[in-house]
Amino acid sequence: MESITVTFKLNGKTTAVAIEPLESLRTVLREHLHLHATKAGCGQGGCGSCTVLVNGEPVLSCLMLAALADGQEITTLEGIGTPQHMHPLQAAFFDRFAAQCGYCSPGMIMAAKALLDKNPHPNRAEIAEALAGNLCRCTGYVTILDAIEDVVTQMQEA
């Protein structure tokens, strides 16, 4: 199949990339653009580890054709913080020991960001609901929910 070029805004920067028409957004992010924070988990939309934001909405990038990202605004974990300047969610995950193997963390943080961008004051049940599509095998979720609640509290105090 002939390659096509898609152009989207990736973490605030206009990006054009040549892809195979049937490649997923996840494959393009990881293998063409070398952004490896977005994880490759089940590849079936079942685990949430590939969650990115498309126009602010959480999307499973393994199920989205990269061609459909043309003209859209994509945000990955790399776009929200760096080791020197962590996003408050990243800092809270760090402080609360909210990762063990860490494979689910990028998807968890992106799903949490999508929630907080819409609803800055969710309760614990609303946070759990927003993360219900993101599986974690290691933590038992408790520290993850604690971390996100910390950020909600910080935002209320700010």
Binding site: I127, A128, T139, I144
Partner: protein, 335 residues
Amino acid sequence: MAKHYGRGIAAVNYPTGMNLGGDPTQALIFCQPTGGFSVKLASTDLGQGLKTVIAQIAAEALGVPFDSVIVDTGDTDSAPHCMGTFASRATHRVGNAVIMAANEARKALLDVAAEEMEAAPEDLVLENGEIYVKGAPERKTNVFNVALAAHFKYGKTISGRGIYLKQKSSLDPETGACDPDSTEAHATTVAEVEVDDETGEIKVLRLASAYEVGRQINPEMVKGQIVSGAVMGMSHALMETVFPYYPALDHHTYSFGEYIIPTALDIPEIESVVLEYPSSNGPYGVKGVGEMTANSPIPAIVNAIYDAVGVWVTDLPVTPEKVLRALEEKSLETH
């Protein structure tokens, strides 16, 4: 038709390590000219925090700050042999090997420091990276200066080798007795459940546990193991199976659509208490905490289901279908 409340309890002893043919782990430590120490291991951190606790143990045994220790878990091309991360053995085995290596490296460091400071090595105190002469704290230097001198002035290495071996223990031919582990940790869990006798659904309301773990090197990470183990135990008890009708292979689960594990919506109230009775042979009294945290919740939940609706379902996972079939059988028996 109603929801029934039930409470169950279970306790486990959990072995630290194994010894089929002997169970060794090695470690190497060396000091760079920066005064930083590298710990080389072929052991694996699965996410439970091995690298962090080993850096804590190495820093404590060397007498240097935590930040000056780098733990590199490679493989047997880059580090000496380890049996692996299993049997809740890693902190115990690797920690002991690292203490042995740290002691040798510390001695090499203090030998150079003694030469540099014109003092006897046994008169030197090494604490948090600072070195001074006992009783004369104004005569001092630090690990960085000594590391530089060792490299560029004396041509000496500051390094250490360590190994911990749990000896092979053969079965006594008469009694079958052997010494299968190094120490044992202990756990007790109380589970509270709600069982719906119409749908067979089980909701775990609360898991309260007490864990005896020897000594905690990193209490926050111990808590992480306990909370996650409680959820994984609940998952084994109620949800997870590859072949739901084994030995029949029908309805084989292929994806997370059918192979159900808990989500953030399934978490019960979790409470835990940690008790510390240090072991005689673990590094600073450590026992293994990893695996047992997923064990005690399972029988506690099964017992709570019996308490709630009076049926024993001992074939895991306890699915709603199995509960309903057991309830039906029970009602046929009583009528």
